[in-house]
């Protein structure tokens, strides 16, 4: 049953941040093909706050990996920020992950032997920024997420919510156009989840950063403005969060 909201696409902007057309992805185990994505069309404009929902096995993680340039589609075209992902080399993709995208993971994924400031500064070091400048900029981003005095601590010395804030600081440090958050509240309690989601909302509103969140919690999805629902590798709903059923 096609949703009426789908026909409202596409919008008029000729250069959206993300444009996916007929994206298919299959995993191969020997000769056995396991299709995961069956042809996804998705366009996301700059400044949007999108939640992607779906049950496990719906392909949302796979979609996320393709969006994050961590994985490549089997077929279809994926245009990110004006560049055709299929034509980028490994090094180009690394540069895109470094500068255009900021990742936030469910498990925070901080490097545990590094002080927080160095964790946040790491993407800048890979971008070729000097240590001193990278640390200064990292401290600014830590302050932005409310952890300005935590720079010298190690990840295991702070709470989960704080760790996720550090991860968000790290995602922000190269001033990316897009933040990809994969179940960012999955390991957090309700109160902390709310704080994190409010932080995302603030970043989206104040800094006009495009935010894409994968979640299976309706409470989290409600912070977004647009909802994309996946089922069995296909988009079953794409429209405003306001009118969606959860």
């Amino acid at each position: 049953m096609p949703d009426p909201a789908m026909s409202a696409q596409p919008k008029s902007d000729p250069h959206p941040l993300i444009r996916m057309q007929a994206i298919r992805k299959s995993y191969f185990s020997g000769d056995i093909e396991t299709p995961v994505l069956h042809g996804i069309d998705l366009t996301i404009e700059r400044g949007e706050f999108v939640a992607i929902m779906g049950q496990s096995g719906s392909g949302k993680s796979t979609l996320m990996n393709i969006l994050g340039c961590l994985d490549t589609p089997t077929s279809g075209t994926f245009n990110l920020d004006g560049a055709e992902a299929a034509q980028l080399s490994d090094n180009d993709l690394a540069a895109v992950r470094n500068r255009t995208i900021g990742f936030v993971f469910q498990g925070f994924n901080l490097l545990k032997r590094m002080p927080l400031v160095d964790n946040v500064a790491l993407p800048l070091l890979y971008a070729g920024v000097s240590m001193r400048e990278a640390r200064e900029r990292a401290m600014k981003k830590l302050a932005l997420t409310g952890l300005g005095t935590f720079g010298k601590r190690l990840p295991n010395q702070i709470s989960g919510g704080q760790q996720q804030r550090v991860a968000i600081s790290r995602a922000l440090v190269c001033d990316p156009a897009l933040i990809l958050a994969d179940e960012p509240t999955g390991n957090l309690d309700t109160t902390t989840s709310q704080e994190i989601m409010e932080l995302f909302t603030r970043l989206n509103r104040e800094q006009r950063i495009t935010i894409l969140i994968v979640t299976h919690e309706p409470d989290v999805a409600r912070y977004a403005t647009r909802l994309v629902r996946l089922k069995d590798g296909l988009v079953t709903y794409d429209g405003p969060v306001a009118g969606a059923h959860f």
Binding site: D90, N91, A95, R97, N109, R113, L122, L125
Partner: protein, 407 residues
Amino acid sequence: MGIWQVMIEAFRAMGMNRLRAGLTMLGIIIGVGAVVLMLAIGESVRGDINQRITAMGSNLFIVFPGSSTANGVRAGRGAAQTLTQADAQALAGIENVEYSAPIIQQPFQVAAGNNNWNAMVYGVTPEYFSIKAWDTEAGSLFGDIEMRSLSRVAVLGRTTAQNLFGDMNPVGQTVRIRNKPFEVIGVLADKGSDLGGGDQDDAVFVPLATARQQVIRTWFPGSVNLIMVQAARADRMKDVEQDIVQTLRIRHRIREDQEDDFTVRDLSAIAEAAQGIATMLTLLLGAIGSISLVVGGIGIMNIMLVSVTERTREIGIRMAIGAKRRDVLLQFLTEAVVICVCGGAIGIALAYAGGLAVSRFSPLAVEISSFAIAIAFSFSAMVGVFFGFYPARRAAGLKPVEALRYE
């Protein structure tokens, strides 16, 4: 990412797992320590041999008389008394000859007070001591004056002096050779054993003319047992040898179709052989050390592979935030090299300590050369690169999405 940053990260990674890093390093420590110490020991053995060769006299020829044939029986070399003091003088005139020293010798029982001792008695000229670069540790040598005046003076080797006089200072004392008294005017410095193992210090030296007249009976006046000839330059040995042969053939009136009645032996050939053995020994010891270094390197490779597997997730995270394959490769390679270079430094320190210990408890004077240190250091860095490369490339070859998913 700058190389300093990568180094800091490498040290951090080592700090995370100190025991493992330490044990890995131990392999390199032992390897580098073994290489450095073995090379140093080999080098000191070579130095020791060189010293003995120099003590024997360098660029040296020994001219023996040929064999004699009497009644159809050919006697051994030296049986004929064909060499003379005049031959020696003639040889001294050859171009590039530094010294020519005629020698007569015969073993005697030498007595001093109530002690007696069997020693070789040599009749030599002062040139003999120059060739051997031999000086006295007490008293003095005899010179031309003693030679001409037929003085009954003797210079004792250390061993002989010890056995005849014990702790007493022999200088000024008298020794009796063939019941003729000789005044001891000097005791020679310790020379040690020659390459054949004979004790060079067990000898009594008297002026050649005195020896000939009063002690040693020779075949005919002027004949000598052998002549030592020292060339001035090592690269002229061949020319000098030819000239010696030529001069002696002319002097002995040997026709072209006749054989030499003397033998010239080039002692530098013996020296070369000994040095060759020493070089082989150094190589052998170095090879043994290298094997342990390679084993240590394999240990590094092993641990780095484990480390790459363990830190797959970390690699995934780094790739997700923008690390290029090159960055990951460099990171793991640097870790391996840092472990190797740290291990190398400690290994060199241990080898140094080991060298001091060997010098103290054995006759060898082991010295760790800066050359050996440089070799070991660069070698250990190379081991790091060589054995770190495969694991590092494996890390760099991981797919970001799979690395991130790794639990």
